[in-house]
C-alpha cells in the first residue's frame, strides 16, 4: 500500500478516535463514573448494543492507529529488507489478534458463552 494512504488512515483513525473516545468518556461520566468497572455495569454496557458497537469501533480504530504507529517507530529504528517485512506483517498480525480478542469478549457477553 502507498505510504500516503496508510498515513491518511493513521490520521483519520486518530481524528475519529478523538470523537468516539469523547462520547465514551461522556457516557462514563453520566452513568456513574465510580461504578464503571463493576461487573454488572460492564456486562450491562456490553449488552447495550449501540454502546458496545461504539467500543468495538474504538478498538478497531486505535488498534489500527497504534500498531501502525509502532510499525513507523520500528521502521525508523532499523532498516533491512527482511526486518521491514517482518515488522509490517508482524504489526498487521498483532492488530488483527488484538481486534479479534476484544471482539470475542463482546460476543461472549452477548451470546452468554463463557458465563458461569
Amino acid at each position: 500500500m502507498r505510504e500516503s494512504i496508510i498515513m491518511k488512515i493513521h490520521y483519520g483513525t486518530a481524528l475519529a478516535a478523538v470523537a468516539l473516545v469523547a462520547v465514551h468518556i461522556l457516557m462514563r461520566l453520566t452513568q456513574g463514573f465510580s461504578e464503571s468497572l463493576q461487573y454488572d455495569s460492564v456486562i450491562a454496557n456490553y449488552k447495550f448494543l449501540p454502546y458496545a458497537g461504539m467500543l468495538e469501533i474504538i478498538l478497531i480504530l486505535l488498534s489500527i492507529h497504534g500498531f501502525n504507529g509502532l510499525r513507523v517507530i520500528l521502521l525508523e529504528l532499523k532498516q533491512g529488507r527482511t526486518y521491514e517485512k517482518a515488522v509490517s506483517y508482524g504489526c498487521v498480525a498483532a492488530m488483527i489478534a488484538l481486534i479479534t480478542y476484544g471482539t470475542r469478549t463482546i460476543i461472549m457477553v452477548n451470546t452468554g458463552l463463557g458465563m458461569m
Binding site: R2, E3, M7
Partner: protein, 252 residues
Amino acid sequence: MAQIPIITEASTTPSPKVITLRIARYNPQHDSNKKFMEFNIPYERWTTVLEAILEVKKYFDHSVAVRYSCRQATCGSCGMIINGKPRLACFTKISELNSNVVTVEPMNNFPVIRDLAVKFERLFNTHHKVKPYLIHDDSEITTDSKEFLQSPKELEKYIQFSNCIKCGLCNSACPTMATDSLFVGPQALAQAYRYVADSRDKGKDTRLKIIDESHGIWRCHFAGSCSQVCPKGVDPAMGIQLLRGYMLGFRS
C-alpha cells in the same frame, strides 16, 4: 574646525583576545573513537571559525582535515558542529559564540572521512533522487522559442527554497536522519517542494510518487531542527508540510 580623532595606542594595536579551539580528531581507519586537540588561537571581532581552523593548519598542525572552498557561505562545504550546533564554519564568527572555548566536530548523521571532513554521498544521492531540475515537455530552446514567463507571485512560492547550497546542516540536525539510514531527509524534501511549486515545472506527480514511500516524506515528525540551523534562510520543515498538503489533497 574639524575634530581630529585621538588615536590611542590601544586602538591601533589592540591586544588580541584568545580562545581555546578544540578540534575533534578521528580517522576511522585506525582510531576507535574521536579525541580532541586544543589550540589557543587569537581572534578579532570578525575572525570566523574557519579562519581559526586554518590558523591551526598553518602554524600548529597541518594534518587537520577540513573541507572548505568559498569562505563566503556559498559553496556549502564547511558545515560542522560548532559548540554543539550545526553551522557553517566560514559563516560563524568566533565573537558571536560568546564563549572562550570553541569546540568543532564533524556533522552528525554523516560518515566521517577524517576529523571534520564528512562523506556527502547520501546527501547528493537523495538530492538527485527527487529530480532537482525543471521537468517540462518543451524545455529545449527551439528557433521560435518562447520564454517561460513567471509572475512575482509564482516566484514567491518557491524562491526561498532555491537558496539551498546543499551544505547538509539540516540533515545533520534532523532526528529521523540519526536512526533511519534510508530516510530521504529535509534537504531533498525541501528541493522536491522547490520544483513541485514552480509554475514552469510539470514533474509534480513524478516527484510526489518518489517521496511517497516507507522512508520518504512521512518519516518527518516535524521536529523543525532543520529550519533552525539552515544558514540560508530555507525552511525545509515548512516545505515538507506544504508537500504534504499536495499529498493529502489540501493543495493542487
